[in-house]
């Protein structure tokens, strides 16, 4: 505890409407600050309905000017939200912004407690901690650095393509990295898009082509980001280019190698397991770029050492079995993550029989089946490849809105199911049953589409399907798939015979979304989707400056929303590029060399490579130009020889002392 009575500290307690005052007795916190902390240098304590409003901020500014405050504590929301607001208020009144601290009594107190008395005591402790801490704060000067004008877009689905094109069309360079061999993402697999029934390929392939041939887009498919260093404005990104076993500069995309390749493989990727591809392949004839890749696990040459048919048949001698992976490091100022989603594995819902009952299909299989360029040339047939079904059942919410799997709504399944119902009707005239829990058609022209499908005669059954089985109970059920469902509108169990079942499977975060998040320094929600900076007001930013997110990587979305997010992320990046420079917090670590023993524990920890070991003097040193103030080395230094401005040991220990102080007033 500091006994320095020369400080003049102002404490401001916010009600946040009723967000705080509902659970915390704001007046008591104010009185505690005024009376209990007077000995610590608090000269004024006020409470106000909304500290972040103009009059609230003016209160602080006025006190700084009139009372000569030299430290300010605002007890309000999380620093994430309004630290900058109040630091700027102090700055306007002539006080160094780093002499203002936020005490979070909303996120860390009122929102997480219900007992008003205990919450008030805790709020007092949190405020006391902030007061003790702010005494140890030192004035700091902000730093400005230039922003690199290039951008990295990760993920070449429709959101990533959109973002890349927006930025490239504005005249700025984009590195578009895609881990598959072609861009296009899930959308490239679809047949029609709801609700307008545009052909997906017709609207997507021109965009793919444009992205693939844009002078400002450096397209890197069959590539993955392996390392990200640096910070907003100055990222250094390492990209691994996996070997295609083909020299791109020689390949003309003539596809003779694909035609000649003797090995046929079930295509679990693009064709969703219902079609074939060769061992040298492109996802489709419309793939961008046009260059094929060799699937070494199925290639005769890589497995058995003989064949080389592709090499022999290639007219330009582009095949290169010796090709190795390459690593490329590029500098960019901003990064957009549009890494998309994975599909729910329908095998997990064993009672629906997918993988066991041949005529149970997933929605993505059905998309490929409907596609005129797909394995059945657009014919809707059973697993035998020839029989047209007479009756089709479509089941919603498979893996979604289900406590056993994912508790969230996958957003697109209702419309996707309605689209399937329409396509089946249109192409076969079959009887279609649509099993739904709730029909969700809120976007533009969606409900009209639902009306249309209703009018087309699809039979809607409201209820969650219990089971799909081929076990017949009577002769009429023989050879049928029986759908057991409670029809909640008539209040009865029904057992409906169909020939084909389509499971409308939900969206899931990418299986490696957590690792991707770690790589780029952003967080994931409990469900695994990337977390936005603000769910409502900043849905495409993240807590890491310079890293933006778009499309289904942040949660299930339809195509228009993904495209809009791609454009929005691009606008934010262009905003950064136009600004030209970014203000960095002057939070830096430094080594007190007299205390450094050169143990080298910190040496490999710095994510920004700011630490060097001086061999001659046997001590470590931090380059302040590279240091981003993350604090990793400060925590790691066993000798306590590294200190971080803004988070010094003195500040943190003073804060702990404050938190542990007895906060009862003598007369209270």
């Amino acid at each position: 505890m500091s006994n320095d009575k020369t400080n003049k500290i102002g404490v401001y307690v916010c009600h946040c409407g009723t967000n705080i005052s509902h659970t915390v007795d704001v007046a008591k916190v104010r009185d505690w600050a005024a009376e209990g902390l007077g000995s610590e240098g608090v000269v004024i304590a006020r409470d106000y309905k909304f500290m972040c409003s103009s009059p609230g901020q003016e209160l602080i500014e006025q006190d700084i000017k009139e009372l000569g405050l030299d430290r300010v504590v605002v007890a309000a929301c999380s620093p994430h939200l309004h630290e900058l607001t109040f630091r700027n208020a102090s700055k306007r009144a002539g006080l160094n912004p780093y002499l203002t601290e936020l005490a979070s009594i909303r996120e860390q107190v009122s929102w997480v407690h219900t007992d008003k008395e205990a919450a008030t005591e805790k709020a007092k402790a949190v405020v006391t901690g902030a007061v003790e801490r702010v005494i140890e704060n030192e004035p700091l000067e902000e730093l400005k650095v230039a922003i690199h004008p290039d951008t990295l877009v990760v993920g070449g689905g429709i959101a990533g393509i959109q973002a890349a094109l927006e930025i490239a069309n504005a005249g700025k360079k984009v590195w578009l990295v895609e881990r598959e061999a072609s861009i296009g993402g899930h959308m490239a697999q679809f047949d029609k898009t709801f609700p307008t029934l545009d052909c997906a390929a017709c609207i997507l392939t021109p965009r793919m082509f444009e992205a693939g041939n844009h002078p400002n887009i450096e397209l890197m498919t069959w590539s993955e980001v392996t390392n990200v260093a640096g910070y907003v404005g100055n990222f250094s990104v390492t990209i691994k280019k996996k070997p295609r076993y083909l020299k791109e500069e020689l390949c003309t995309g003539c596809r003779i190698c694909i035609e000649k390749c003797p090995t046929k493989v079930v295509d679990q990727g693009y064709e969703a397991g219902i079609g074939y591809r060769k061992a040298i392949y492109t996802s489709s004839a419309q793939a961008v770029p046009k260059y094929p890749v060799i699937d070494t696990e199925n290639c005769n040459f890589f497995q058995k050492g003989t064949c080389k048919v592709c090499e022999k048949s290639c007219p330009t001698e582009a095949i290169d079995y010796e090709q190795k992976e390459e690593f490329l490091t590029v500098d960019v100022g901003n990064i957009i993550l549009a890494t998309g989603y994975d599909l729910f594995d329908a095998r997990k819902v064993s009672n629906y029989g997918y993988g066991r009952l041949p005529n149970v299909f997933t929605s993505i299989e059905f998309e490929r089946m409907c596609n005129a360029a797909g394995p059945t040339s657009g014919d809707i047939v059973l697993r035998d490849g020839k029989t047209t079904p007479k009756t089709v059942g479509i089941i919603h919410c498979v893996g979604s809105r289900d406590r056993n799997y994912n508790n969230y709504c996958s957003n697109i399944c209702c419309m996707q199911s309605l689209k399937f119902a329409h396509l089946v009707k249109e192409r076969t005239g079959d009887t279609v049953y649509d099993f739904y829990i709730d029909m969700r058609t809120p976007m533009k022209a969606y409900d009209e589409f639902y009306q249309r499908v209703l009018e087309e005669g699809t039979l809607f059954v409201r209820g969650k399907v219990a089971q799909v089985t081929d076990a017949a109970r009577k002769a009429s059920e023989e050879g049928k798939l029986m759908v057991q469902v409670e029809d909640t509108l008539i209040g009865k169990q029904r057992r409906i015979p169909v020939d084909m079942v389509i499971l409308s499977i939900g969206m899931e975060p990418r299986h490696d979304a957590k690792e991707t998040g770690k790589l780029f320094g952003i967080g994931c929600s409990a469900n695994g989707w990337f977390t936005e900076k603000h769910a409502k007001l900043d849905p495409i930013s993240t807590m890491t400056e310079g890293i933006f997110i778009a499309g289904t990587a942040t949660g299930p979305k339809d195509i228009p929303t993904s495209v809009a997010q791609g454009s929005a992320a691009a606008a934010r990046v262009l905003n950064m590029i136009m600004r030209g420079e970014v203000t960095l917090e002057p939070i830096k670590a430094s080594v007190y060399q007299g205390q450094c023993s050169g143990c080298r524990i910190c040496n490999s920890l710095c994510p920004f490579n700011a630490i060097t070991f001086l061999e001659d003097r046997k001590v470590s040193e931090i380059n302040p130009a590279l240091c981003q103030g993350c604090g990793t080395c400060v925590a790691a230094c066993p000798a306590g020889a590294i200190s971080g401005t803004g988070f010094s040991n003195d500040q943190i220990l003073a804060q702990i002392d404050g938190l542990l102080m007895d906060v009862t007033l003598a007369d209270a």
């Binding site: 007299g594 205390q595 050169g598 143990c599 524990i601 066993p638 020889a641 040991n649 102080m661």
Partner: protein, 330 residues
Amino acid sequence: MSKPKFAMYWSGSCGGCEIAVINIHEKILDVDANFDIAFWPVAMDAKVKDVEALEDEEILLCLWNGSIRNEENEHMAHLMRKKSKLLVSFGSCATEGCIPGLGNLFPVAELIDTAYTTLTTDNPDNIRPQTVTQVPEGEITIPAMKDRVHTLAQVVDVDYFMPGCPPESHQIAAVIDLVIEVLQGKAELPPKGAVIGAGHSTVCEECPRQRNLKAIKAFRRIQDVAPLDPELCILEQGVPCNGPATRSGCKARCPSVGAQCIGCYGPAEGVVDYGARLITAFASVIDSKDPEEIEQILDGIPDPAGQFYRFNLADSLFQAGAPAFKKNEV
């Protein structure tokens, strides 16, 4: 002119600090030449009442070794403080609590139970020590254990701290030389509260072993590493060596001869919690990103309390011996 008075007292400790003082060999004659030994129960006969009879601050230099384990320790600490001009917290027990401080992991009753019931304890009547006992001759008392071990500085005001378990003899000799020089007017005392007889950095600074970037895949006990590379940093070989966090001053005695540092010189300058520093340091150099594997690697440290707080528990942040609520301080 009479010589200034010297005292050395021990409380909760093993006696090794006294041996370390004797271990300065002929230098002890300088002590005798320059000081009048007023009170040193290990070395000469004197009674507490002799000390009580002294004027306040009549003893110039008192080296106090040992933790404050019982009420008598505390009483003596107050007495020696009162009678001494310079009170030095001498050695690890006095400064950090040391091995006696590990008693703070358990309630006192449990400690006593354990001590009086181990397999090797011959205690057929299952007796426990009593602070007050009636005997035919009357009532006898022994000092009660305090509910936890305190460091000397947690109980009385201390002028200087001298770490080490025990402090190295060459450091003791150097401090004695300094005090004599001060007496002769040739040198000045360091500022009050300073750590004397030790360095300002950590053991690594004095350690002759080669240090590289660290990436630890497994922690192993030293007997399980055979043979230990004689040139290479012990921590890099997977043996949890406390050198990086431990104050320099011992000339890296243990690592120099192939044993890991166990941390007897305590935290480096300005470090508040030795164990916490060491935990974050070890955690930082674990070479894995897989939480399960990290867990497994950390399990390679069989006794975390002993590894990280063997000497420092009583002085650590979470057992600082000070009341949690500052304003309740007595």
